[in-house]
Amino acid sequence: MVGGIIKDVGNISSNKTGSWRTFRPVVDKNKCIGCGTCKMFCPDVAIEIVDGKAIIDYDHCKGCLICKSVCPVGAISSEEEAK
């Protein structure tokens, strides 16, 4: 561990910050137009556009709901996280 150097870059993904969530964003695949706006703004890099639809990585999404607030077509709703 000489000098505290980390060569396994990006390995923080093993932190499952999805557990922080109080509210869960949910994408309505029917409404989603795949514009990528939510992905662009997600602070947690937790959205990908797959086959023209937004997919949320719930392992990491912290539930800020920015995606919901920026989605131009209102395709994202939120629900309380099941505890």
Partner: protein, 372 residues
């Protein structure tokens, strides 16, 4: 290798040019300034391999050098006194990051009051910082230490930043006959870092923070590195002696003369003490490698002495002693006294040393005298 007569600072600049650091960050401060000035002349005339950055402060000097070393290149700076003090925070960072930077410290007193002359308070007050510290007796040794320092620092068993300390004015501003090598005979290979290099092709993270446990472990590792490299220092010293024909004690301490009584000291100041030792018949033990502290070697050398007098140019304020005394005391139990001399560049001629040394018998154990 040809002997020449040269100012100490210029000899250092010459050897730095040979060592060919890729980045040199510089900020002027007496008495280290002639080093960057000479290097700037080299650069202005197209004779320098590296790039000089003329920073706006010593905080940035050490920071730029840390950046360059983190990018994976050999890096250099020189400073003194207030400049070194201003680097304090980054010094601890550099050792924690295990970057094999080498800097020349032209030792000078610390303010207040401001004083441009030599003592050791500046580098002594960085003795906890995790850096290796070598103190040269004369410019020849400083030049030789610069060469050894890069080789030691960059050794995979070491990877620690290093200060090569030289007494301000007494060495930096003095013309002396010096053997500055004209080439390094492959003694110091190019720096090819395996641990730390910021290369977009092989990305890494440097300078991460740490919670309690990893912090504790990384700090332990740092101290283990410090404490385990005595053999490397000796090895490089011995190899150097083979290639360049000069050696200094065992590389850690130098024992001069014989005697039941010993004097312990460092730096250029040892010279006058040796002259006096010849006359009065005591032994001079010069600490060359102050960090890591060669406790075993010193304990062995001091074993059975009737008295030990530590002469030094620094104070650990509030302890009643200098820092070197305090360190040496940890390995020696017999009668030991301390002389605080030469603060702020006060000249300490042999005659003054003689007067002091003759007081040793009358002094109590652990007594300190400040002698003008």
């Amino acid at each position: 290798m040809v002997k020449k007569i040269e100012e100490g600072s210029h000899a250092v600049a010459d050897v730095v040019r040979l060592l060919n650091p890729g980045v040199l960050a510089m900020y002027p401060i007496t008495p280290s300034t002639h080093i960057p000035e000479r290097l700037s002349e080299f650069e202005a005339n197209g004779e320098l391999g590296g790039k000089i950055i003329r920073v706006e402060s010593e905080f940035s000097a050490i920071s730029a050098v840390v950046g360059a070393s983190a990018r994976g290149i050999r890096a250099y700076t020189a400073t003194s006194s207030q400049g070194l003090a201003l680097m304090h925070e980054v010094l601890f960072a550099a050792s924690g990051m295990r970057l094999p930077i080498v800097i020349t410290v032209a030792n000078r007193a610390l303010s207040a009051p401001l004083n441009i002359f030599n003592d050791w308070q500046d580098s002594i007050s960085e003795r906890d910082s995790g850096w290796l510290q070598f103190y040269g007796e004369d410019s020849q040794e400083v030049v030789d230490l610069m060469i050894q320092a890069y080789k030691i620092a960059e050794d995979k068993r070491v990877l620690l930043p290093t200060m090569v300390c030289m007494d301000g004015f007494f060495l930096t501003h003095t013309y002396d006959v010096i053997d500055v090598p004209e080439d390094l005979k492959g003694f110091v290979p190019d720096y090819k870092p395996e641990h730390a290099f910021l290369d977009p092709k092989k990305p890494m993270t440097q300078g991460a923070w740490a919670m309690q446990e990893p912090y504790f472990k990384l700090r332990k590792e740092l101290e283990e590195a410090q404490r385990s490299i005595f053999p490397v220092i000796k090895e490089v010293h011995d190899d150097f002696a083979k290639v360049f024909g000069r050696s200094y004690g065992d590389g850690l301490i130098e024992v001069y003369g014989e005697g039941d009584n010993a004097v312990v000291t460092m730096g250029s100041f040892s010279t006058n003490l040796k002259v006096l030792a010849d006359k009065l018949g005591f032994q001079v033990i010069r600490i060359r490698c102050y960090r890591p502290f060669p406790d075993k070697e010193l304990a062995a050398a001091l074993k059975g002495k009737e008295s030990v007098a530590v002469f030094e140019k620094d104070v650990s304020y509030g302890t009643g002693h200098g820092a070197v005394y305090n360190d040496v005391r940890t390995v020696y139990n017999g009668k030991m006294v301390n002389f605080i001399v030469g603060l702020g560049g006060l000249d300490v001629p042999v005659s003054a040393l003689e007067k002091m040394y003759k007081q040793v018998p009358e002094m109590k154990d652990a007594e300190t005298r400040w002698q003008i």
